[in-house]
Amino acid sequence: MRGNCEAHELIAPGSLRGVLELLAAEPGVWTPIAGGTEIMVAYAAGRLNLAKLVSLWGISELRFIRVTADSVAIGAGATFIDLRRHAEFCESWPLLAKAASWIGSIANQSRATLGGNLVNGSPAADSSPALLVYDAEIEMISVRGSRRIPYREFHTGYKRNLLALDELVYALHMPRRFSRHKQYIRKVGTRRAMAISKVAVAGTALMDDGIVSEIRLGAASLAAFPTRLRKTEQVVIGRPITRELVAAAQEALLAEAAPIDDIRSTAEYRRRVGANLVTEFLMELARKDAKP
């Protein structure tokens, strides 16, 4: 069954205000479409059950990257190419820059937006692990005003989030205080390009005299939505990296991860590889810390 273009309405108010007023006037009726790299795939396959779409493409108020002395604000409409081309951003938030390079191909990166990646809410979302370990905050906007919450609280279940029916994601904010942190990110997929991840893990950590004084671990495809690995972090924090600690961290991850079997991988594989990735990060921390 192919998509039928007559079956869907699509309008382009052309301004943020215009979109927000439409969402406020008819909450839940209109679905925003930005670069279309998810929605148009469902459409082409004839499984898009959304009658009314409102375009966010070309709204310049949503497409920005503002780097300041202590933070960055990224508009929800910034594309992954926009992120990759912003040298100062890439230098200061390398894990998210790396994740941007994982998104599909160049032709996908030129259309797919950061906001779209998060609202789509795939458990495998490429940008999520990096945002989680950089303590990102997500800003949502409606005609009622805007609000900002930690990104780690945004997803509430499989493809569910805290957006109200009249809200859009406006921006992501990240503090610039990870320059002294050891940083890690790795995606495991079928091939290097165009692959949706089987599992991905990001990490930021501070070592203090051989002790892990701070650690954040963010994961994709280890639960119904992208999550911090809080229990694994708790096991590691405040301890030196020893063989016993690595084993305890692996055990904690195997216990807290809740992946599923699907077409891309199995729950068992994801759990094991997730544990391997965390191990790799801990070993890197131990090695880097040993250097003078």
């Binding site: 699509l10 779409l53 259309r111």
Partner: protein, 169 residues
């Protein structure tokens, strides 16, 4: 059911065109059906294969994933716009010379992805060529010859520019 038929104006290969079509019609279908530009092909229809690649406002895009309303006011370049006045683009020359095309279905997309790469990065390494073309699949497995074609074209463009610079001097 949507009765709304916006008037869409685009600059396609340098020519201003206006079409009146449903807003969700895909750019690919408008190019092929309404503008008779059949160079861009439909392969997968889901942004995986790159055979529908065109350039829009200086960026490489999959035209199968673009509702035409989002292309209103845009500059589009398709494979038909690569040659100028009947003279093949160096990329097309090199695809011919290096055996970069076999069955030809992926070729228009490969050419546009390569054109995008060279426009942004005139001196690409082999690794950069592989990344630039990673979203374009070739079922004839002619990837190495395709990469070599792009490398040859980039070199040819650099040489001809060096010649021009020498003449100017």
């Amino acid at each position: 059911m949507s009765e709304f038929r916006p008037s869409i104006t685009m600059q396609v290969n340098g020519k201003i065109v206006t079409v009146i079509v449903p807003p969700m019609k895909r750019l690919l279908d408008v190019l092929r059906e309404d503008l008779q530009l059949t160079g861009a092909k439909e392969g997968c229809g889901e942004g995986e294969c790159g055979s529908c690649s065109v350039r829009m406002d200086g960026e490489l895009v999959n035209s199968c994933l673009i509702p035409v309303l989002q292309a209103d006011g845009a500059e589009i370049q398709t494979v038909e716009g690569l040659a100028t006045n009947g003279v093949l683009h160096p990329l097309q020359e090199c695809f011919l010379a290096c055996g970069g095309a076999q069955c030809g279905i992926c070729t228009p997309g490969m050419l546009m992805a390569a054109a995008q790469l060279i426009a942004r990065n005139p001196h690409p390494t082999m690794a950069e060529i592989r990344e630039g073309l990673a979203g374009n699949l070739c079922r004839c497995t002619g990837f190495l010859r395709i990469f070599e074609s792009v490398l040859a074209a980039a070199t040819q463009i650099q040489d001809s520019e060096a010649d021009k610079a020498n003449h100017a001097r």
